[in-house]
Structures are given as C-alpha cells and as structure tokens.
Symmetry: C2
Subunit: 424 residues, 2 copies
C-alpha cells in the first residue's frame, strides 16, 4: 500500500508514487505498518495493457492463478497415496474466504468410492413401524414442500491427525479439512413421516446408503432431530454432487458426518438401534478406561485459525488472523483468540451473522513483534459449551479414541515467521 503524490511525497514529484511504507495505517486503526509488499510507480506501470478477454461461456471457470484443491488421503497421515487408496478428501481451509464451501471443494468421506446413481431409477424405501410403507421416486420427493438452510458437516474423525502427536509440517487442510458448510435444500423428514403414519412407539430410524458399502446408521428420533432432519437433494443451489450423495442424502444438522447417509435408499422405523457394524465396529469410541462409548453423535464446539496456519510464513507487523468456528449444539456465541500461547485471551469479531449449526468466520488484526509465540482460538456456543484445551481434552478422552476431537488448535510461530502445528 503506497501513498500517492501530491500531499506528503518525499521527492515532491506529483506524478510519482511515494516509496515510503504507508504509515497512515496505524493512525487509522491498523496495528503497525507492515502491510504486505508495497506497490511502486514501476510496478503500477508494469501492469499489463488492457486487452479483450476470453469469450463468455456456459460456466465461469476458476482463475489460472487460483491453485485450490482438496487433498485425497488414505487415513490419518497417509498422504501422497495412489488415488484408489483414498478414503477421504480434505477441504482447503487455508484458501477459503467467507463461510460457504464451494460444492466441488466440500470435504468428502466415502466408504466405497463415489457412485453416480441414475436419479430416474433411484428409489427411497420407507418402512418398519409405520402404517403405510412407501417407495418414493426423486420426482415424488421434489414435488413435496422443501426447506433450505445452511449447515456444516464434519467427519467425526476430523482432527485425528493431532490426537496422539503433532506433525509440525502440516497445513490446516491436513489437520482440520474434514469440515465444510453448504446451503442444503430438501424435504423435511417430518413431512415424510406425516405420510407414513409412524407408530408413536418408534424412537429410532435406520438410514441406509446406496453405495456398495451400504453404510447404515441408527438415528435416535429426538425432537431436535425430528425438527431439523432433511432428505436433501440440493447443495449450494444445485443438485447434490455424486461425492456428496446424489441424488439424495440425509441431512442431520450438527450430527457427525457419517450419519448424514449419502445415496439414501432406505429409512426403517423401529424402537431400538439396529447395531449395524458401522456403530459397533467402526464409529465407536474406545475410552481411556477400556470401555467403548457408542452413539456419541453430536459434533462438539470447535474452532481453528486458518490464517496464519501450518507451513505459512508471516512477517513482523500487522497480520490478520482469521479462522472458522462451529458447533453441533447451535450458534457460536463467542470466539476468543490468544496470541501468547493461551495465557491471555481476547474476544474477536465475526465477519457475518452466526447461523445455527453453521460455520462462522472470525478475525483479529494482530501486530506481531517478531518474537516466537503461539496463536490459538477457542469457541463458545449458545448452550455454553466451551472448546477445551488439549490437556483437558486428553485427560477426559484418553488417547485410544479416534473420533470427536475438538481440542483447541495451537500454531507455533518461530522468529523466522514460520508457522508450525504444535500440540499446545
């Protein structure tokens, strides 16, 4: 940022840009003068001549200058793999701005690859403890009243990278890339239940996917779930993408990702959980005392600083700290940031309204003095849940569990400005 000629230009030339660092920033509320690279008269003159651009087309492509992509992985720390080994693909949190995740960059966790089902042949069977078992086509579902809402989805394994140890040289995409926020559209589960004549004694629902793995989960029919569950066919305004369950998925705002069954083909109503292998073998928490915790379903209060974050390099002076906060329990009420390794905290600003069970972006203007330090965020939701520090979290959960990691994320910064993943 450079001051133009005409007012306090050092060399007095009216047509020339001033090379001095822009110092007005401090007086205008910016902390420090170290804004990124300065413009010079030469660099402005160097801006290419304006030429006609490419033809208009059916789709707006990304800029050639924007390098942004998910990272397929084969499990915790298993990167640089053969694509056929991938079990998830992480969202590039460090490159995102705002709160919505573009549909093609929404994180993915799939258990038997990405199937592309024919919507004309797809059916949803609803049966069990109901008066009228039914089969719906996609046309049936699309002719029903719909709702549209924004909600995050998070893989219950998000954060497992840091459960036992910290790899210093990973990005926030590696540590936290299994969470995303989209606008979802579909039929309220409640509307479909109204058609079925559900037995009031039915308190559980089995949801089964149409992929080869046939992922199936038992879902407790609490009031909160009955109020919010959606049979979703739309994602950010367009049909679901295959990786996210096209043509139909279950959406349970705030609940762990694998419950939001993709390629949804069956709902069965009953009065107890089905104890599928997905809830006995896979998505069960091994606690410190050796017992297993089942049906830990709601995602916790969480947050992470996305910039600056792992592998980035910052410079002394003013830096904007920004990141994302979310909670499966409702709205984010408050985000605090510490720039001195969790000794002192300050409440920071949100860039927009906090929606229930959606990510919200926070930000802080920070003047870095160039000395080694640690930065960390913690969120509090409207129910009063506070994101725990890592020591408390490990004390409560032990190190055998794999899921629902929501400890505070600390980034270490050394004297060279290099940002590293550290445990606390």
């Amino acid at each position: 940022m450079k001051m133009l000629s005409g007012h306090s230009n050092a060399d007095g030339s009216p047509e020339r840009l001033n090379r001095r660092r822009f110092l007005v920033a401090a007086s205008a509320g910016l902390a420090g003068s170290a804004l990124a690279e300065s413009a010079t008269a030469e660099s402005l003159a160097d801006v290419p001549a304006r030429e006609p651009g490419a033809d208009l087309s059916g789709f707006s492509a990304r800029s050639q200058y924007v390098k942004i992509s998910r990272i397929p992985e084969a499990g915790p720390g298993r990167r640089n793999i053969d694509p056929s080994e991938a079990i998830n693909s992480k969202a590039p949190l460090q490159d995102l701005v705002g709160t919505i995740t573009p549909s093609d960059l929404h994180y993915e966790r799939s258990h038997s690859g990405v199937v592309d089902l024919d919507p004309a042949r797809h059916r949803l069977l609803v049966h069990g403890m109901v008066e009228r078992p039914l089969v719906f086509s996609m046309d049936d579902l699309k002719s029903m009243p719909a709702v549209t809402r924004t909600a995050f989805l998070e893989c219950t394994g998000n954060g497992w990278e840091n459960w036992k140890k910290a790899d210093e040289n990973v990005t926030v995409q590696n540590t936290h890339g299994l969470v995303s926020t989209n606008e979802w559209t579909g039929v309220p589960l409640k509307f479909v239940i109204g058609l079925l004549g559900k037995d009031p004694a039915s308190t559980w629902m089995l949801a089964e996917g149409g992929d080869a793995a046939g992922v199936a989960r038992s879902i407790p029919l609490t009031e909160e779930i009955l109020d919010e569950a959606i049979l979703a066919y739309g994602q950010n305004g367009e049909p679901l993408r295959p990786a996210h369950g096209f043509p139909l998925r279950l959406l349970l705002p705030g609940m762990e990702g694998n419950l939001n069954i993709k390629w949804l083909r069956r709902l069965k109503f009953g009065d107890q959980p089905w104890m599928t292998r997905w809830e006995t073998a896979r998505y069960t928490q091994l606690l410190a005392n050796g017992k297993a915790r089942q049906f830990q379903l709601r995602m916790e209060t969480n947050s992470v600083i996305t910039q600056p974050s792992g592998t980035m390099v910052i410079r002394p002076g003013r830096n904007r700290i920004t990141g994302l906060a979310w909670s499966g329990h409702g709205r984010i009420a408050k985000v605090e940031v510490s720039t001195d390794g969790a000794r002192t905290w300050q409440e920071v600003a949100l860039t927009g309204p906090a929606l229930p069970k959606a990510q919200v972006r926070f930000q802080l203007d920070w003047a870095w003095d160039g000395k080694p330090t640690k930065i960390v965020s913690r969120s509090t939701d409207e129910k009063g849940n506070v994101q725990p520090d890592r020591k408390s979290f490990i004390a409560a959960m032990g190190t055998n569990a794999l899921f629902h990691y929501n400890a505070q994320q600390t980034w270490g910064i050394d004297e060279s400005g290099r940002v590293r993943n550290v445990l606390d």
Copy 2:
C-alpha cells in the same frame, strides 16, 4: 410414490409393491393424487447392483445425469450465436434449487470478454477528494478486516426479453437468467474511506474496471451505500472467478449489476457524477415521453416462478410451484401466487429466511385440474414496494426503455400441460 405391501395391498401379496396410485397423499395434506411416475416392483428390482464407485479426488464433479449450464447470448433474443458474439450468459434458474447460485453458474454480463488478471500485479488506486491518495495490492486488501454477506446481483437488462413482446417458447433462463445470489466476502468500503481521509464534501465516487472496456460508473455516496459497499475478493467461499471480476470487484447490494464494477482498479472521490459514456449513452432509460432518465440505480422488487416455467410440460394433479423473489430495497416481506391468471392471489410459503437484498425461494402445493390457466407471482418488500403487473408497468415506463423491467411474469398452461411465456 407407491404404497408397500402388508396393509392395504390390493392383491394381498406381502412382497409386492402396490401399483395403485398413492392416495394417502391427499389425506396427508397433499392436494391430489397425481404424483410423477410411480415406482413398481419391477422398477425397484431393476435398480442396478451396488458397485464400488470412482476414486476420491481433488474436486467433486457434477453427476453425468445433471445437465445444467448457462446460456451465452448476444443480446435480447439473440441466442445460438458464435461464442465471440456473446455479451452475457444467463443462469439456469429452472434447474436451481435453494437460493445460492453456484459460482460457475452465476449469470455474467461482460463488456469486453473475460480477463484473467494476475492478482500479484493487480493494484487498486484510490484518489480524488481525499487527504491521502493510496494504492493497494491484493495482499494489502486481504490483510484488512472483512465482512461476509449474501446478496443478489442483477443485470439491469434482466427481463428485457418480455418488454415489447413475448416469445412463447422460451425458458425462465431466457426471460430472467440475469440474476443470481452469492455469498460475498471483502473489505467494507467504509474501512478504506477511513484510511483515505475523504473530504466530507465528496458525495460521489467513480469506480473503474480493469477490463479492456474500462467500464466506469459514478456512484452516489448515500448512507445506505456507504454502509453496505464491499471491495469483494471472495464469492461463495472461494476467490472471485474471472467472469465475476477476479481478483477484486465492487459489491453494492441491491444496486444494478453494472455498478458492481468487476476487475476493480480505481476509485475516485468527487462532488458530482462523471457522466461517463456508461451513464450517458448506455445505461440511461428512454421514457415514454422521450426524456431520458439517468441514475436509476436500485433494482426493484421482483419475483418469478421457476417451476413450472416456459417449455415445461406438467400433468394434472398435484404440482409444486416454486420460484425466487428479491428486492434491491431490502428483505422480501411477502410473495403471492395466482393460479387463475391474476384474478385471485394467495400468500405462499418461503423455504427459508428472507435475507436483505438476497433472493428467497417460495413454494406452493397446487392441484391443477387440467384446464388451461395462467400462473403468476408477485412480491412485496419490507419497504412496501409491490411488484407491478405488466399493464401498470408499461403504462408507467412505456416501451422505449430497456432497463429495470420488473413486471409480474405470467406463464400460460394449455390443456396439454405445456407451459408458455405469455405477457399477461
């Protein structure tokens, strides 16, 4: 939608689907029994065996079954053109669900093609009636406090297809495809103005684009604009796409599209409009009395039914009517739909919260009796502005003007169920 066996199955076979039309719908609040194609036992058996899907990847592609695209045009009615002639590209409203428009399908209006500027070399010059003229790099701007909000953009020429005559065989993409809604992120103009020391006597701002056309518009610095204007670098969570102004555009929620200068390179502060050719020659309204109206800048209260809409064919019985409503003046307060050619109206449901200056989706469950009729929507915003019928609109504006068409959109339906674009 079919009733399963076991309760009231006509042939008594417990494993077979019932072929009868699903009649429970009516008792459950669905009007009529004519839901789309019915499932049969055969069609369910016909569902392909579940096979492993494609490998996970860096991006979630669209389904092969989803045919969705914008339509490049060369001006009103000039379709099926050579791509080099295109001046706009219309959003596929009939295929969208929810309220967000995917970034690659956001409508586009460009005056000299799509330039892909190098963000490392791009600069924003701010000067004129200010104490401190400044030049900002993109790094400078991204280090400043940001805001995130959802807002629609609309080309001031949206609807011109129907100004003088109606082509019966066009889609809603043809008639209304120059409006879209995205989540936008960037620096509040107010923050930048605070850095500059704007002369209080400055009441206008010139904004100039970095494309070859150098589109430049004079913007009155009203309180509303000062409160809402954003120097935007983010669109639906990712960097702007080149077609939408990468790396920087002006965002003026509620104001006509061309004011939201893309590829923003200059802001100049003054005390009167600059009378650029864009506001003298191009974006001026020729009124019925032969006088020209300049600076009609705010987009009006508007709505359109997107389904069923032009060229679709519906069947007697239950049909879901859905569409979009928006207003440059604020939130949509109410949407009404008539299914009898504007003789009677009923207020209809919204699928989600109405955000200020953003599109909201409305819906109505409608039982079509199979007789020819016309369907039409009208919106009312929180300021009390009501979308006019076409006769009133033409009486007020004449037929010489080209911009700010917001008359009610009527779709005619004949006895075969074919939906046609009609004027009223």
